[in-house]
């Protein structure tokens, strides 16, 4: 005990003395512009806000954090260049980033070969399966979203569904995962339709699904304007089957785009961030999500999104690991990161293990329903 204390004290002294020369350098490559800007933009804003916050409070163990942030525009080639630059020129000790699965795969290769701990903000299961030594991620996988939705369907006695998905990366990936896990939840997909990301009207597809015998509910994996238009067309056609959306549109903006009347009764798996105001007082995530939501909305004047929450969690995980590692040696940070136990974030409570670098389970998702223009938890 005494030895540890002395060690920490020594490290702190070292930290204070060296703080003037070398801060903790944290690297990030995000898609703050381009097609994935709706992901990268809130992520970049969140990181900048949190770094300022931590530095204003004195940094980690007295050391300030210096954020080196690049905008890869959603381009995997640029992401790779920036990752290399972060490691070789900027000499960062850890990387957060990869707003999309494509950019993540580029950064991941660099991080893994250079031995720099990396927390990804993208959804695909391939990022952490197989487990790579230096790669972690904060968002749930698409597969978990499908499982959460199917579990809710089973609870409501729904076994035969229609699927309408976007042909963009998110929609196509989630559609494939949902089809993959449907069987194990005894869900039968009777009708399957798609739409292009910028289509203006989905009534033909919905009319077809509606007239398919036996369909009990409709699931719409997608993000962007597609799900909002599907939801409005749903109301236009007067379809009275339950409509399930994905976590891709879990934001207040979705209700606004679809219109509160049309969105009434829509169900989707979301995070605690969406229901920050109505969370029970004893809820373990209450404090974290309320603090983040209040700070973000005060600073930027726009609603928090689930995606910004991913960056929030990644930063907290990294800061926590750096503090526990007590050094800015990348492999010490990695070891501390893997030992993370019960860190409460906005997305869920993270516990990493050697064979689990996602650290979330299905309980992190909350099944939400839109009622009177707001979110209600129906778990």
């Amino acid at each position: 005990m005494k030895v540890t204390f002395t060690a920490i004290a020594t490290l702190m002294v070292l930290g204070v003395t060296s703080a003037a020369h070398a801060d903790i350098k944290l690297g990030a490559s995000l898609s703050a512009s381009g097609g994935a800007a709706f992901l990268g933009d809130p992520e970049a804003k969140t990181l900048e806000m949190l770094v300022d916050e931590v530095n204003a409070a004195g940094g980690i163990d007295g050391e300030k954090i210096e954020l080196v942030l690049y905008d890869d525009g959603g381009d995997p080639n640029k992401a790779r260049t920036f990752a290399t630059r972060l490691v070789e020129d900027d000499e960062v000790v850890a990387i957060i980033g990869g707003s999309t699965t494509g950019t993540t795969m580029s950064i991941l290769a660099v991080a893994e070969s250079e031995g720099i701990p990396f927390i990804s903000l993208a959804g695909a299961i391939q990022i952490i399966d197989p487990v790579r030594d230096f790669v972690f991620k904060t968002p749930h996988t698409d597969r978990m979203a499908c499982e959460k939705i199917f579990t809710d369907m089973q609870k409501n006695g729904i076994t035969r569904i229609g699927l309408i998905s976007g042909t963009d990366g998110f929609g196509a990936s989630m559609e494939a995962q949902c089809k993959d896990v449907a069987g194990s939840h005894e869900i039968e997909i009777l009708a399957q339709e798609t739409y292009a990301p910028q289509d203006a009207d989905m009534t033909p597809q919905l009319t077809k699904i509606k007239s398919t015998d036996g369909v009990q509910a409709i699931l719409n994996p997608g993000f962007g304007q597609g799900p909002a238009i599907v939801t409005r067309n749903y109301a236009q056609l007067g379809i009275d089957l339950p409509l399930y959306q994905s976590h891709g549109v879990a934001s207040d903006g979705f209700i606004e785009l679809a219109g509160a009347d049309a969105a009434e009764g829509v169900r989707l798996p979301g995070t605690a961030l969406l229901i920050a105001d109505t969370l029970a007082d004893g809820d373990p995530q209450k404090e974290v999500v309320t603090a983040y939501k209040t700070a973000y909305e005060a600073k930027y004047g726009e609603d928090v999104s689930t995606f910004g929450g991913y960056a929030h969690d990644a930063f907290r995980l990294m800061a926590d690991a750096i503090a526990r590692a007590g050094s800015d040696n990348p492999s010490d940070i990695r070891d501390a990161l893997e030992a993370t136990d019960g860190l409460v974030g906005t997305t869920g409570t993270y516990t990493f293990r050697a064979d689990d670098h996602l650290g979330l389970d299905l309980s992190a998702f909350r099944m939400l329903e839109i009622r009177d223009g707001g979110w209600v938890s129906i778990d």
């Binding site: 009207d201 077809k208 236009q236 726009e302």
Partner: protein
């Protein structure tokens, strides 16, 4: 039957959106043979500026008028700052300039506005109208009506007014047009202002249906361009019919074959038409002296 009518309504709604964008291509093309690839950005600007002005508390009609005026101004600026200095350059170079302009406008909009999706309230509410067993939103009627109104206005402009004929003459032979006393510089400026204004008006009309964000322009311009090619570039009638046909192909394919193939089928039909009629359905045959 009900399903068929639903497919038709969907096709007409989407087709009218394409037609509105296609109509915007007409004037600049007629004045200069240039296909303006920044046309989609004009549509986006119309929607975005209206949304922001409306959110700032202005009444919707005033917000729309402001958006149309600003976008027309940007159209004039595009002509003055980028197209006019390159006078004498081949048409292909001018087209490439418009592509550059579209990238610039898109980049500037994500800084000036934001990167989020926005919508406007529908002009006449969201209660669907039931006709022949299928449903149609009132906003669809606004879009279809807007497409027809702009078509008639353009048709009158090109066939009944001296100014419209001056635009056509400028495209035909700029030197000859100057010799008969047409101010070709003014005609070019006017054509960019009108095209931008039509694009912006289209943006105002379609935003309640399609939603708007800084990057919707490219997709809209591509579909509008396809519609204009199908109908015959430069002909308002072609733009209207081409747009509606493209929308109907897509909706009927999605309804009766598969939504996976709807765009492929629509484009195969366009290719087939252009193979038989290279000028499009209503395009004028051109003979060029060599």
């Amino acid at each position: 039957m009900d399903a068929f009518m639903q497919f038709i309504y969907s096709g007409l709604t989407v087709g009218a959106v394409y037609a509105l964008v296609a109509l915007g291509f007409t004037i600049i093309y007629n004045a200069s043979d240039v296909v303006n690839f920044a046309q989609g950005e004009f549509v986006m600007l119309g929607g975005m500026i209206t949304v922001f002005a409306f959110d700032a508390g202005l009444p919707l009609p005033l917000a729309a008028v402001i958006a149309i005026a600003i976008t027309a101004g940007i159209g004039v600026a595009l002509n003055k700052l980028a197209i006019e200095p390159a006078r004498g350059a081949p048409v292909v170079s001018l087209i490439i300039i418009t592509i550059g302009a579209s990238i610039l406008i898109r980049g500037a909009s994500q800084i000036v506005f934001d990167k989020q999706l926005h919508r406007l309230p529908a002009f006449s509410g969201d209660d669907p109208i039931h006709v022949f067993g299928a449903t149609l939103l009132p906003q669809s009627l606004w879009v279809i009506g807007g497409a027809f109104a702009i078509f008639i206005a353009l048709w009158l402009f090109f066939t009944r007014t001296l100014l419209g004929k001056a635009v056509l003459a400028t495209a035909n032979n700029r030197l000859a047009a100057q010799l008969v006393g047409i101010n070709t510089g003014f005609v070019m400026t006017l054509s960019f202002a009108l095209s931008a204004a039509i694009g912006a008006l289209a943006g105002v009309l379609v935003t309640p249906i399609t939603l708007v964000s800084y990057d919707v322009g490219v997709g809209l311009a591509l579909k509008g361009f396809a519609a204009a090619m199908l109908g015959g570039m430069g002909n308002p009638k072609g733009a209207l019919v081409g747009g509606l046909l493209l929308g109907l192909f897509e909706a009927l394919t999605a309804g009766y074959i598969s939504s996976q193939y709807k765009e492929a089928v629509a484009f195969i039909v366009i290719l087939a038409v252009l193979f038989v009629m290279p000028q499009g359905l209503f395009g004028a045959k051109k003979t060029e002296r060599v």
